[in-house]
């Protein structure tokens, strides 16, 4: 029972690879070599995509919690500023935000940019954008906790922070797991937007291979990579969701 999802991954891969070959007119040794070559080159780019993905998750999820607190702040000014931040992040294209993060130091402060800054700019841009989305997801999770729980905690003598950590936070996590999974999956695919600031990710490499070979198949191989990656993400998140359900 437990091994089934793992098996599913293999079955899927085993089914799709031949399907891919069948579409490029017959299977031969050179096709296998071609496929391995494309996979090898894409796997180099996958590290760049994974780095961006990992760092974005690492920074945007805690930052989102912070934004969420600010959004629910008693102080009107902080609440308004945060509302504005969220509306900008959600209301403008991520690609534009990346261009702003990368080029603003030069155009506003006249600081000359280094090429290494591309990676940082991509991570900062993604983290800021995703933090806004996560903040709203968290907020929905926190506000879904019934008022009675707060009152009960108060009666039991819990402090505000204790109430949050012991009562509200665990429920929030459980409520928000499905939309968080959604965001994470979107993020996997969004990483390809980073090429706007010349951050070379896997999809860019697929496009380059496609241009070099005058053949569109590398794009499909890249699609396979994304699919498998997201398959793993959904699988892991599904496991976590199951665990969280134990407390229900």
């Amino acid at each position: 029972m437990k091994k089934r999802p793992v098996i599913a991954v293999f079955v899927f891969a085993a089914l799709l690879v031949p399907a891919l070959f069948a579409s490029c007119s017959g299977i031969s040794g050179s096709d296998v070599n071609w496929f391995m070559g494309v996979v090898y080159q894409l796997s180099n780019g996958m590290w760049a995509s994974l780095l961006l993905f990992g760092c974005t998750i690492l920074f945007s999820m805690p930052l989102g919690l912070l934004v969420c607190f600010a959004r629910r702040s008693r102080f009107k000014v902080i609440e308004l500023i945060t509302k504005f931040y969220i509306s900008i992040m959600r209301g403008t294209p991520l690609m534009l935000q990346l261009l702003v993060v990368y080029f603003a130091p030069y155009y506003i402060f006249k600081i000359s940019l280094s090429s290494e800054y591309r990676t940082y700019a991509a991570i900062i841009g993604f983290a800021l954008n995703y933090a806004a989305y996560f903040a709203e997801i968290y907020r929905s999770g926190i506000e879904a906790v019934p008022k009675g729980h707060h009152e009960a905690a108060k009666v039991l003598g819990y402090s505000k922070s204790q109430t949050f950590i012991k009562i509200v936070f665990p429920q929030m996590v459980r409520h928000t797991l499905p939309p968080v999974t959604n965001e994470i999956i979107t993020l996997v695919k969004d990483t390809s937007l980073a090429f706007a600031i010349a951050y070379i990710d896997m999809f860019k490499i697929a496009k380059e291979l496609s241009a070099q070979q005058s053949n569109i198949m590398p794009l499909f191989v890249a699609g396979l990579f994304y699919y498998i990656f997201n398959f793993v993400v959904s699988f892991v998140m599904g496991k976590i969701e199951k665990r969280a359900k134990r407390y229900e």
């Binding site: 920074f59 912070l66 130091p105 600081i111 800054y117 949050f164 010349a198 860019k204 496609s210 070979q213």
Partner: protein, 265 residues
Amino acid sequence: MKKALAIILAVVMIITAVPMLLAGCGSESKKLVVGFDSEFPPYGYKDDNGEYTGFDLEVAEAVCKELGWELVKQPIDWNSKDMELNSGTIDCIWNGFTIQGREDDYTFSKPYVDNSQVVVVKKGSDIKSLGDLKGKVVAVQDDSSALEALTGEDATDANKKLCASFKELQKLADYNNALMNLDAGSVDAVCMDIGVASYNIKNNADKYTQLSDIISTEQYGIGFKKGNTELKDTVEGALDKVVESGKFTELAEKYELQDAVCLGK
């Protein structure tokens, strides 16, 4: 809770501070950062080993060797090229960069390739000449010289008339995408640089063919930030030496561009 908040804040501050520091330092040894479109064979593309190569990049390599500089090959998003150049993240655009129509925006080296804009159609298509493009859907790369030749301020009357006769002029992100559209039948013809057209026709001789009529002729140069004549002169001087040594012609032959280059003859 306060502790956790403090840690989160600290992490956020560190991640924002690190790039600022990094942006400040760097550039100890002399580097030449060449910006190019890595989907533009044979001038700049990725080879089978995953390395960036192409005629322009190999010439740039030879130029840097001449100067004792280090060449940094930076693939860029073609639509962001001006921002990249102006902000100093790249030193020049060296990638089949057409001079005509852009003279006021960049400082150009002397031309090194005579290029023409040609029309690529599907093999066996009933389009045989420019006149047959009437009522057809034609694709160009966005912000390309083919687009400039058809719709730009300096476009000839004949080209303007030609463009007006199209059913539609579609601007696509890259040539490969345009050729995919051609395969799929959603566009009837693609206007592109002759070098790129020959590369793709060579790879897919059974699929594409090129009209003998050309839309325009133009020249390629190395584009520097407007006013950066110092770097332009240095690079041009080294390029002259590369041409004199015969290396330039050798590379042109390697990429089958010997008919197109206009230096070393």
